[in-house]
């Protein structure tokens, strides 16, 4: 890809104050993300993956370094968290319209867009349900739809399927990769699962143990659409081994 990157992270460092000279979470991280790229950030727990995502989302100021968006200062962010993080007092469709409401869109127009997204994630008919009626997988699909609805410049996923059971999780991979191909978004996803990264990503960044540093930047050139069979191919096996070695 020769296009200009949508996101340039340079020299990014995060140190949390503690009683022992500070907790070094990220150490001079640098990488670029190109438009419509699906990048996975992989690393052992405590490698500062989530910290990186929180800085990119603007939830945390970096100690040093910067992340620059090509679109300007304030990119639109769609974020999916480890838990679905829905507002229990809002129905499914009201949860979806939240980002549009915050941007000042009228209710009717927002609802039209929300219905589109509900269809996209396969939850037609559940518009007026309360979040408590949804299963974990359904709730997380609502969360993905909510992260897409305001047409964000960058989609940030923080181990979005970590709390789901194995079967649902693998169904969600297929779902997410279908949605991603339809919507053509730039995605940065944090995960600790090698299969998940190889199933979804164009590129995988491996972080080291704390303080997190980019240890490996691996292009995943497996053909799309990817399916279960692909996991038993030698190409997949080789990539998986390289990632495993890098994680250590």
């Amino acid at each position: 890809m020769t296009k200009t990157p949508i996101l340039t992270v340079s020299n990014l460092t995060a140190i949390f104050p503690d009683n022992n000279g500070g907790l070094h979470a990220l150490d001079r991280i640098a990488f670029e993300v190109h438009p419509r790229e699906f990048v996975c950030v992989l690393g052992p727990s405590g490698s500062g993956k989530s910290t990186l995502l929180r800085i990119l989302a603007g939830l945390l100021p970096p100690t040093a370094g910067q992340c620059a968006f090509s679109g300007g200062e304030n990119p639109r962010i769609g974020m999916v968290f480890q838990q679905a993080n829905l507002m229990p007092w809002r129905s499914v469709i009201e949860n979806l319209t939240l980002p549009l409401e915050l941007a000042g869109m009228e209710t009717d127009a927002a609802r039209v867009k929300a219905r589109e997204l509900i269809e996209l994630v396969g939850l037609g008919g559940f518009e007026e349900n309360w979040p408590r009626d949804l299963s974990g997988g359904m709730a997380q699909r609502v969360a993905i739809a909510r992260a897409l609805i305001h047409d964000p410049d960058l989609l940030l996923l923080d181990e979005p399927f970590g709390s789901l059971d194995a079967l649902t999780r693998e169904r969600m991979w297929t779902e997410l990769s279908r949605i991603w191909q339809r919507r053509q978004k730039t995605v940065l996803m944090v995960t600790h699962s090698i299969s998940e990264a190889l199933f979804l990503a164009d590129r995988v960044l491996v972080l080291t143990q704390r303080p997190g540093r980019v240890k490996l930047d691996l292009a995943v050139d497996l053909p799309r659409p990817r399916n279960d069979e692909m996991r038993y191919t030698p190409e997949f096996g080789q990539l998986a081994r390289r990632l495993k070695e890098a994680i250590g």
Binding site: R54, I77, N85, P88, W89, L102
Partner: protein
């Protein structure tokens, strides 16, 4: 036993439970009647249910009951609204600022340690025997439970939802309106429900100390004239007043918190 009878059983029990409440009330009434009839007590000690009922009708027809109930209701509602409003604003600020919490906490704790019944005479001396002192007493008694519940409610808003709002670049006002208020509402309304009944108590305490109107005043009049039936009428009216207010808040809770389910 077929399937139908199994399904019907819980309903039958439910039905009979509803009647149990009514039956218990009737039994209590009968016991009261029997005590008045056969207890050998004079009616200025224990009037019979019938005497109370006729006294109620008389107070109703000469208009005095409505006037005094109206005064008490107005004091209760004004005190409840004023106290709850002040408590909500203070509670929100305390929830948001640890510094403010430190500054205010000695006063808040002290205000809880002072028995309101004891300072009610002081408030009547300062603000007169009219409605103002009663409204103030109501507001003071409502303040603390609403304040505590506001603080707890606002502090319990999930941090992850704050993250969500910030990742969507929500303004402070949007965070208040679309996150903090709806998230804190269940706990807040719980405080308001307690406050509603306390407010009735506050008004009566104030009126007993010194007043020329209100149901508490009516209790005093009845006592002074050995018109014990009137005391009963006033007390029952107060009970109804408190139950109606409690019911109103509970109704609002059910309407506003539909999402919680049953």
């Amino acid at each position: 036993m077929d399937i139908n009878s199994v399904k019907k059983l819980p309903r039958a029990i439910q039905e009979s439970r509803r009647w149990l409440g009514l039956a218990s009330l009737l039994l209590g009434l009968a016991a009261w009647w029997a005590a008045a009839r056969f207890g050998g007590l004079p009616s200025f000690i224990l009037p019979s249910p019938w005497q109370v009922w006729t006294r109620f009708l008389r107070a109703l027809s000469d208009g005095s009951l409505l006037v005094h109930s109206g005064v008490t209701l107005l004091e209760v509602v004004l005190g409840l609204l004023g106290g709850a409003l002040f408590a909500t604003v203070t509670g929100y600020l305390v929830a948001k600022s640890r510094t403010l919490e430190r500054v205010l906490s000695p006063y808040l704790v002290a205000s809880q340690a002072v028995p309101l019944v004891a300072i009610a005479p002081l408030l009547v001396i300062w603000f007169g025997p009219g409605m103002a002192s009663k409204v103030l007493i109501c507001a003071l008694i409502v303040f603390f439970p609403v304040l505590v519940n506001t603080v707890v409610g606002v502090r319990a808003v999930p941090a992850a939802l704050h993250d969500l709002m910030r990742s969507l670049r929500a303004t402070r006002m949007q965070i208040l309106l679309k996150l903090e208020i709806p998230a804190a509402l269940p706990v807040f309304l719980g405080g308001l429900r307690i406050g509603a009944t306390l407010s009735v108590i506050g008004a009566v305490v104030g009126e007993l100390v010194g007043a020329d109107m209100g149901l508490g005043f009516l209790v005093n009049v009845g006592r002074g004239q050995y018109d014990t039936a009137l005391v009963f009428v006033a007390v029952f009216t107060l009970i109804v007043l408190a139950l109606v207010l409690y019911g109103l808040v509970a109704w609002a809770e059910r309407r506003l918190l539909k999402w919680q389910g049953t």
